[in-house]
């Protein structure tokens, strides 16, 4: 039974994370005009690894590969003052605004479109695996 649903479990985790990222991007777009708002971003790959249990510790893979890099003793989560879900990081901002808002609306919109497409793709993967599972369960006489 575990084997049957393993793919589905993975895809559903991915779908939940996509939905979460979509919500996060919507929040950023909603706060594009709020003074002092700091844009947030979800490290999708890391979050998915954590959610599916294929990585020991979030941010554990952070390493310095250049002398200019700042070494982090802890993962992203503690570095940004986030403890409970650790996956939220602050988006890098491209331009400084006088009101200290760090939302880059163009990038947020691009990410939003990108995330919608990937959400839909995940949905199709799920539909596909459900269909092939149902096909496998059919008896030969059913055609």
């Amino acid at each position: 039974m575990q084997r049957l649903t393993a793919t589905l479990d993975f895809q559903s985790q991915a779908l939940v994370l996509r939905a979460e990222r979509q919500r996060l991007l919507a929040s950023n777009i909603a706060n594009a005009d709020t003074p002092g708002y700091q844009a947030r971003e979800l490290d999708f790959a890391n979050a998915l690894r954590t959610a599916t249990g294929t990585q020991q510790q979030l941010g554990g893979a952070l390493s310095t590969t250049h002398e200019g890099h700042v070494a982090t003793s802890a993962g992203f989560g503690t570095a940004t003052g986030l403890d409970e879900d650790g996956n939220l990081i602050y988006a890098r901002h491209s331009q400084d605004a006088v009101d200290r808002n760090t939302v880059d609306l163009d990038r947020e919109r691009a990410s939003f479109a990108d995330n919608s497409v990937k959400y839909e793709a995940t949905l199709r993967f799920i539909n596909g695996s459900v269909r092939s599972m149902l096909d496998a369960m059919k008896s030969p006489s059913q055609g």
Binding site: L15, V16, A19, E20, Q22, R23, L24, L25, A26, S27, N28, I29, A30, N31, A32, D33, T34, P35, G36, Y37, R40, L42, L82, E84, D85, L88, L105, R109, F112, A113, S116, Y119, E120, L123, I126, N127, V130, R131
Partner: protein
């Protein structure tokens, strides 16, 4: 389903932008008003946006925390014949800059459109989620 929160978030933003647009409309309408209900010239108003967390860390909506009066200097118009003219013949007008308000209006309307688009996308994704496993 956590995506439903998008409607709360974007909805709050749309309503905040509407309020901003409302204030812009008031300012533009009163650009030439030299006497308000209190007998003083009209002062431009500005909305203050504030982030409001909606349950989780990932959903941050917007609300209008305050509407403040602009502290810009009022325009002085030379009209010695005017009933409201002071000793030097100047009439104090409003402190609204029509150009700034037009820019503000465009910015508010663009933000409004962005948030509506976000809601439309979320809606179509949710509708597709409803059909999961059916096709």
């Amino acid at each position: 389903m956590s995506m439903f929160k998008i409607f709360d978030v974007s909805g709050s933003a749309v309503s905040a932008q509407t309020q901003r647009l409302n204030v812009v409309a008031s300012n533009l309408a009163n650009v030439d008003t030299i006497e308000g209900p209190d007998g003083k010239p009209y002062k431009g108003r500005q909305v203050m946006f504030q982030t409001v967390l909606m349950g989780e860390q990932t959903s941050a909506g917007v609300r209008v925390s305050d509407v403040v009066e602009s502290t810009d200097k009022a325009r002085m118009m030379y009209a010695p014949q005017h009933a409201k003219a002071n000793a030097e013949g100047y009439v104090e007008g409003s402190n609204v800059s029509a150009v700034e308000e037009m820019v503000n209006m465009i910015s508010a309307s663009r933000s409004y459109q962005n948030n509506v688009e976000v809601m439309n996308t979320a809606k179509s994704l949710l509708l597709k989620t409803l059909q999961m496993g059916q096709s």
